[in-house]
Symmetry: C2
Amino acid sequence: MEKQPDRAEKYRRSVPSPTLEDVATRAGVSTATVSRCLNNPSKVAKTTRERVLEAVRTLGYAPNFGAQALAAKRTNTFGAIIPTMENAIFARGLQAFQEELQRNGITLLVASSSYTPELEEQQIRGLVARGADALLLIGHARAPQVYEFLDDRQVPYVITWTYEDFQSRISIGFDNRKAMKCLAERVISLGHRNIALITSQRKDNDRASHRCEGIQDAMALHGIDPEGLRIVETPYTISNGADAFASLMESDPRPTAVLCGNDVLAAGALLQARKMNLDVPGDVSITGFDDIEIAQIVTPALTTVHVPHREMGKGAARLLLGMRNGQMPTSSTELEAHVVLRDSLGPAPRM
Amino acid sequence: MEKQPDRAEKYRRSVPSPTLEDVATRAGVSTATVSRCLNNPSKVAKTTRERVLEAVRTLGYAPNFGAQALAAKRTNTFGAIIPTMENAIFARGLQAFQEELQRNGITLLVASSSYTPELEEQQIRGLVARGADALLLIGHARAPQVYEFLDDRQVPYVITWTYEDFQSRISIGFDNRKAMKCLAERVISLGHRNIALITSQRKDNDRASHRCEGIQDAMALHGIDPEGLRIVETPYTISNGADAFASLMESDPRPTAVLCGNDVLAAGALLQARKMNLDVPGDVSITGFDDIEIAQIVTPALTTVHVPHREMGKGAARLLLGMRNGQMPTSSTELEAHVVLRDSLGPAPRM
DNA sequence: GCAAGTAATGTAAGCGCTTGCATTACACGT
DNA sequence: ACGTGTAATGCAAGCGCTTACATTACTTGC
């Protein structure tokens, strides 16, 4: 019996992955039928289908990704570009995103941009080049040519970690400004008038800048000059948070409340407060933002803003899945973020 | 002037990505030359090369990933399968891994297995199917058919987060057993005799089981019956750590030292201790493992084992890069993990 | 000035899959 | 028994790239 001798000849170095053709031969059908069996089972007769699937199983066939992408012009791969993998900020949302994708048979590609616009653009182009069918992006702030590129290529994307109604781009997230304003009002209502903010770079980061504006909104609303808000910008690590807090505590007048742009910076501030023998919240109040795990772990537990991590991730996946099938959502969706009162915020100390 | 009218006809829906052929036409050369220009510049005359690169630039050409993968049989993509993205345990190492890959022009695909062997196998096959040139794996414990599969397909892989000399498989990491033994000896030398362990599932997890054995090694060495080690297994979350600690504190005799398989569980234990008004380390000592960020943040700061996250990530990348180019490393590499003494471990209380 | 070697480029055959269209098989009504 | 409609299948043309091999253009030594 002769058996595709040419093919057998070609591969010698290792056990070759079986191809569609191998499956077809074994099942006694054409490659077209096998392909349909896998992608469009309803178009194949039941008995044939069973025969084919049997062959697939015994051969351990798995489609060649490149070939499939090339022929079908889709990869069943979505991409996500997040600012950092170093800390847990985006982890939970990403996990939810990926779970939802997996449930729909699509694979996730993750890239991190290290909060650098140039790198982010490069990553976006890279992911599109490697066939990402859709993209998850964090925040709105990026160069217009990036959006042009995406629109030209008709790559669906959603923006998350923020919600802005007026944007034509679809987003799913919460209103950073409103959420921070809410927290700030709480702070102010406890008598704090000397307020400071430790934040990560606001340039190219709409989340950070909106949070800052939220505080100023609250101040204005309560008759405090928003210009009086002392702001320290520093990259996103615990020790930077600590340093920023230290410098703030040396200023005069000393703030009675130090709001932080995120929990990581707040944790650093808390650490430093302890080192300086300052009682929190007795001597100074500290708040965070994001409500990641560490917020509950630090002492005192951090008053912060809880963010709908998993809802954003899952929701973004749903949106993207829909968009890939041609259902363009008509509007962005706003999720709720809410203040979580724990122990690090208290009344302003009497002078 | 006629210009490939057929091609223009084919695409209408959106701006098509320029193809190799477009570049070739524009530069007045064949596609082969363009391809060589991009992948093997030395084989092309300087003047031609410049002309081609110019065309690439103005057209904004980027290679089609699928086509490239199909034709070249490599994707310049490495995969990593980690047990979880939910907490920071693997984040730092992964970040280092990806930075090193990026520096070498290769893209990282990340999948998480949720500590489930079946899911992990599926993810591995998935990543290979989509053309991963090499794989980063955590720990040795997995079904033999997985290794067979990888070997058959000649997919290079390295195991990390563990080091075992006797294994034929290449690994880069540290000796979990030795590291934990070292910590346990410290604990014992402080007078603790009643020791307990809170660990994640040890089945299918060699890191967890080796750490456990390390404690027992130390006990045996100091004349304590290793069977006396009380062990609670529980999944990997803060609240589980807290619950496990609570149940341990109810047992009789109460342990004076609770070692935890990782910092997350330890953080939970610490939290619970505070809730129960137990002084740490006055009433009970608690230790962690991994030295992730939270270890420094909790109160008291956690005595734990520092793990060479970034070295493992970067080293794994290097190894894999080499293997792809045919340099099979001859042996695994052992990195150092060391005990970090902070505040959560103290002398055993006098009975 | 010519053969011979080398460097630069072109030609074209796939890589493994999807899918529009053509073909075949089959059930049914008449 | 025959045409007709529909369901099932096969055929074959690409998808955009890489690369072995063929071809052409130059050098260079004699």
